[in-house]
Symmetry: D3
Subunit: 339 residues, 6 copies
């Protein structure tokens, strides 16, 4: 299997049980998650050597995050310790027509206040087969943005493939600032993962969202092609979520590489147990497919099936095995009891 390094933030996630609102529960479920950590956990579960690099304060809450990552088989030995606090996000899960609700409390987190010089990238990436990060990390602070960029640059220098999931969060930064930074980062990225909105809003590829609402699947190949032309990506994956309600989504993706395009199977997911981390589980599935040398269609199919299953699992982490994903790829989505 491959050795993969992911860099980003892991947060404490606090959510009322079930579909309760914040004001209705005397307990909050405690979990941990964050774009790149979720990818690392998925990849460790698929059997890879997955290392997660971040910065966490020296307290019992952060200790607990590390303990959980380690339990899931993630290599946590490169995590820096320091800073005042760990980021938190409060999540209220929606249902039917009621949307899920996130309250971020991640300002001043240890990684947002990172000094890029603390990270010795050549050492962290030694022997690695893959480097992954997302657009959330550069949104956290100038320091975090520089740290991510240095990681990507170093990986490119060492010939390590770099994947990047756009993940634009409007609660974290303005579109203008995001555009500027993400376009600059594109130069260090081999595999881009995002949605058609990102193509238009961040990378300036005209999709026509304003006019047409959700674009037809038929437009996806063209969008991907233009991204490849504009930024020279090795591969471009565009995920597609159709939000019928908070409990029912359509989910699929398109992948373009080597001048060809591949459509993934479309899943109707109902009910959704937890859609947070859906995109991350796609990234992890794609990295798994590519890093293990599958052909593009197989890698995409694995990625879409993995992320379909994620929606049935509580928490940010996609706790599924390769065998489970492959069963779904093979056509068994009937949910029959295995006994």
């Amino acid at each position: 299997m491959a050795k993969i390094v992911a860099f980003g933030e892991i947060m404490l996630r606090l959510s009322p049980p079930g579909h309760l609102r914040f004001s209705q529960s005397p307990v909050l479920e405690q979990a941990f998650g964050g774009g790149e950590a979720n990818v690392a956990v998925s990849l460790a579960g698929f059997g890879h050597q997955a290392a997660f690099v971040t910065r966490l304060p020296k307290n019992d809450i952060a200790e607990n995050a590390i303990r959980q990552l380690r339990g899931h088989g993630v290599d946590t030995s490169a995590i820096l310790r320091g800073g005042e606090r760990m980021g938190i996000y409060f999540l209220e899960a929606g249902a039917a027509q009621r949307a899920s609700h996130v309250v971020y409390d991640r300002a001043h987190s240890a990684i947002a206040e990172i000094d890029p010089a603390e990270l010795d990238w050549p050492r962290l990436l030694a022997g690695a087969d893959w480097f992954h990060f997302t657009g959330i990390t550069p949104a956290l602070s100038e320091g975090a943005a520089r740290a991510a960029e240095e990681g990507a640059t170093c990986a490119r220098r060492l010939g390590i493939p770099v994947s990047f999931d756009v993940n634009y969060r409007r609660k974290l930064w303005s579109l203008e600032r995001a555009r500027e930074v993400m376009v600059r980062l594109a130069a260090h990225v081999d595999y881009l993962i995002g949605g058609v909105e990102d193509a238009e809003n961040i990378y300036g590829v005209e999709v026509g969202l304003a006019a047409s609402g959700r674009p037809d699947l038929a437009l996806y190949p063209g969008v991907a092609e233009r991204l490849v032309q504009k930024f020279g990506f090795q591969g471009v994956a565009l995920t597609r979520r159709e939000s019928h309600s908070a409990s029912h989504n359509g989910w699929s993706a398109f992948y373009a590489t080597g001048g060809k395009g591949y459509f993934g199977r479309a899943y109707e997911i109902h009910p959704i147990v937890d859609r947070v981390g859906g995109g991350d589980s796609f990234s992890a599935g794609l990295i798994h497919g590519l890093a293990t040398g599958r052909d593009p269609q197989a890698a995409l199919d694995f990625a879409v099936a993995a992320s379909c299953l994620k929606h049935s699992i509580a928490g940010d982490f996609n706790l599924v095995s390769v065998a489970e994903v492959e069963a779904l790829v093979g056509g068994d989505g009937s949910g029959r009891v295995q006994r």
Copy 2:
């Protein structure tokens, strides 16, 4: 915002968690609810000054009900204290083809044994912009019926609009008795809220339910028109629930006023988290719309959207904000995570 007074019963609600049957759980979830109290909580949540008038015994359970109402911003200062006990209802939530089940234990409650003379309506209604009650209150006892009637009469005398939600409960009284009382009360009501069954069964407006089963939406304007003609209501709202199963309902409403009729949007709600209080949340939404001077279509749209969201919220109370309702009215029922 407006000052609204609601009068009725608030009960202790005890329900096994999730979809468990009464015999399956060693704990019962404890909440409070009742038609008029639910309306008061909704309206307080929408920013109104909402006062709830009732009678509760002097014990810790009733104290807790008051504490919760107060927490939701309801004015509880006019609640009378006395009587032996507080009404209880046990609720077992159904799923799929299994219906929800209510066991009432509300006989001999403090409000059922109210002496109407305890209520000084002119003082309670001083400065009020709206008075609301439902057909559950007169079903509780002769005293409660008289108290409600005196409230409505006093409101009318003071020029305060009166809304009334029919809410016929066959476990509480016979159809004959209900008809007699509710027809008498109609004289004091400006805004009637109910279903087409109520129009036929209670108010004698021939709908043809027996022959045709669920009547076509096309009949609603005629039914409303006849109610207006017969009783002189200012407005008539008819809600429409299509129970596909305990987990999946269609939900909409029609509103007639000033000689015109308005159809609300129809929502397919799936899964239903809790449908108790659905009608009350509609009443609150309509009162909000009317009391804030919206036009009839806007008031109806707000009411239908508010009550659609209620189905996604556990408990009797509709814990949503005006902004959330307006987002749904504006078309966003996709349940996308806001982050």
Copy 3:
């Protein structure tokens, strides 16, 4: 009502709450279940005298199983005490495309190590109106298989009708061994309950599954007819589950007796609260219908409706009353609140 005897294993069932995976929960829900015990509980709930015969060790866990059966009205006085341990099964409930997962820990259970001589069948069956067992019991061990066969033989000798639910479990025994034993047992069975797969795989009735996948309903009468011809069954019931996903199933059945065939109503069940025990609740419903002398269509309708409701109830046991089943048979699957 009738006196019914069921023989088989009851296990401790341990499952993470809701849709959590095994690794996600610090608690496991503790329940009890097993094919024949589930049938006994259903029948006791329908008002019959239902006795459950099994073998359980002398410890607090088994004591608890007995206490629960007794609470549900099952006669537990014939349960043998001895052996080392009680079987356990761990159940992880799936959702959407993720299948439920069973981990069996039932080897070396008290009943698997039963000495058939411990059971005095003439005494156990004295006065009984019905004997029921399933294909799980003979799969447990040679001793359990012989004990079941002796029970069925004795019942036949005493003129007591015998029903048998095929319930083939590939984790317990090979198809070859299952075929050999179940064909031998067929000689003692009056009423066979199973699926079309069982007809083909176990009883050698060519259905054409390999070629066509799920066979058309139109083929069911023919399959049943051939089973009757081949084995001389009094009645053959074939259940039909369409697994759209772990959360959504179609459910129906066909019943053949006296040269005629009867189709049950088809239910779309969504969401499924717990599908374990779905087949057992069908068996219990059918036994209820037949033992109370209903006509075949009515017996089948009761059985299908009973098992439809089971899917909305957590745990193995179908905790519904005759009145609830009959309401669904009568057409009320709307899930409306009764109040």
Copy 4:
């Protein structure tokens, strides 16, 4: 073992978990309990045939109470069904210096509204070896008092020993009324169980409580002697609780019979898990001892040890075995793990 009949009320008991106050918990633990029902459960657990006679409404909550009694092995076949509601008591468990708090909601319960003629005592007591009731039953209503008295009278007539636990509850009736009724009932009682306060307050045996506070143990023999002389009891048991705090009690008892007195061992119980039902478990232990022919000291020792253990068990019911009680009688209160 013996056949024992107990008559009284069983209530739904609702309590916040742990030491939470009523206002602090969104769930209430649901259990069932009541003086005589608790005795019946204890005795069934000790292996006796224990029948519980009461009156309960026809609803799912009462059904659940019956299911639990039956699970614990109590014969529930003589329970009358009718009436409007089942009594409820809300219990908030104290800790340290904070007392436990009971809110009764038992007015108008099915048994309070019993018509004594509904009970066919000669049939109910046929074959019985013991009849037990407490001073709570006559406090419920005139009808309940008469029903209890008729039960006791009938038992005496049939030569069945009658035990009576005074259990004076000041929230249910006045001291005057209690005195009048309990003195009258004393004529039908063989075995009296109570405290020294009862001797003085109810039965007019001067103890000197006002002057001295808690009386010295040395006074107990005299008090018991005077009770025997005044009312002709066969045996008198006086329990002694020293409430150091809600979490720490001393517990013992004295028993007088045949002109002799016996002191039980004194236990210091810390922490108390649940002291409700402590007295009932003593009654059950004493009945067990006497009905199985133990000598007075052995019967008393068993009773005190059984009730000591009750304090470590949540809920009203004393879920301990004879072996566990005997181990404590034998001196093992060390709480060592058995493995």
Copy 5:
């Protein structure tokens, strides 16, 4: 009753249930608390008009804090809304020899970043009878310190008594800084509440802690006297906690005023349910006593009993009534069930 204004921070409190460590629980209990908020809740519970002044961000978590305060009857209308985040503290409850553990995450909270000019003290204190704050507020930031000082100064100017609880937290600021600020604040304080350590460490009153460890009670009058002489306080209350273990504390206090000293009763508290807020409940009890005109001994007795009871209540808030406190003052700490 009196109108009391308290100013300070209210935090989200997150704690694993029971005695679990941070790493052991998938849920955290969610509550709210903070020195001055706790005092306000206590006083509202005692029947006073208690207003709490603070600054909280505009998000659902803060909304929930406000809802809870309002539910407990606290006037929340003067709470400022703004800032980035609300302070959080994580609490792990110890047991026996294991200490409780607090992880603060309160940096950058809305109140720490307050601009003192946002508070219009003359308006906030209009009509007030008492002003209370603690040494935690000035520890938060320079702005918070100034805001508190301005509040105290304004109160003094308006002739409103000011009470101050020293509450030195070494995790928040250095001893040097604390000394400087608290000595300056002493000029505006009428009633000082603290421990003998505070007298020595903060106010420079030599107690001899280093030499003797915990000082003898006999020294308390002298310490209080010197504090009065040095700073001119109207009253000085010194609480005394003897930590035998995390589960068992001794608790008492001494109060000096008008040249006389008063000793409170000493309570042994075992087990401690939650000792957080113990000091705050004492402050509230003392303010209640003084503001309602009790004599010093009675005020002190009420305060010590109130805070004794607090230790039996989960969460920061002391949810007890005046009647419950008075029962304990009157000598009933036996924890007997009231029924």
Copy 6:
């Protein structure tokens, strides 16, 4: 830090929450534990490289056990996978006079059916500084006994110190068989850990338990001395538990080495949160002390304090840090909140 290898069984531990009996809870808390695994977790928590060697089946339950060990930092890479099942123990926690109760379901576990040849001890112990096992492992089966013996023999050959905790479990084997095996094993043991009962019952050192009950502490040095003389141990640790009740124990130990004896501090532990694993946490503490070169008194003090703290922690594992243990050694058992 040191590299430590422990060999033995890890079981699934299932227990009702709090003090509930097996029959009272619908959920069982799921944890993992076992003598040697507990030691490995402790040592990993103290910062050592702790490897745990065992045999576990290939299923999700065992996977979960491994995940948890790995989360706590234990090296699980040498765990063999195979066998039918994983051992289970059911634990009901006692309180006050009621003892805790263990139901073992560990027969036929993967490790009990181990083939000693599967373990390549020279490789497993390469580079190790310590080898630890207990008397539970040889009690499981002949194969497990031989595997343990080969591990100890190999360690001795490699010059690695071997510690052995007697842990005699009468539910697993007879005293005769235990004696025979444990005396044989003594030849490979450097450090013996046990109680005075073990010295007498297993190793034939006359203590006089029968005559005197619990022997005086004064006898401990003599007992240890005779064990050293008889078996040539490097060190002998004798723990001493005084079970006042299930909730209150005294706890201390004595350690003899190099001809000298050392007494540990005696702790009164009240309340006990969980005493399972108390002895294992002592072993881990002693190994920590010895392996880090502390002097005997310091090693013993650390071990006794570590195991004292264990009693306050739920589950088998002693989740404390070196700093927490050292604080208690340093005298702080006051349980004061650190803030």
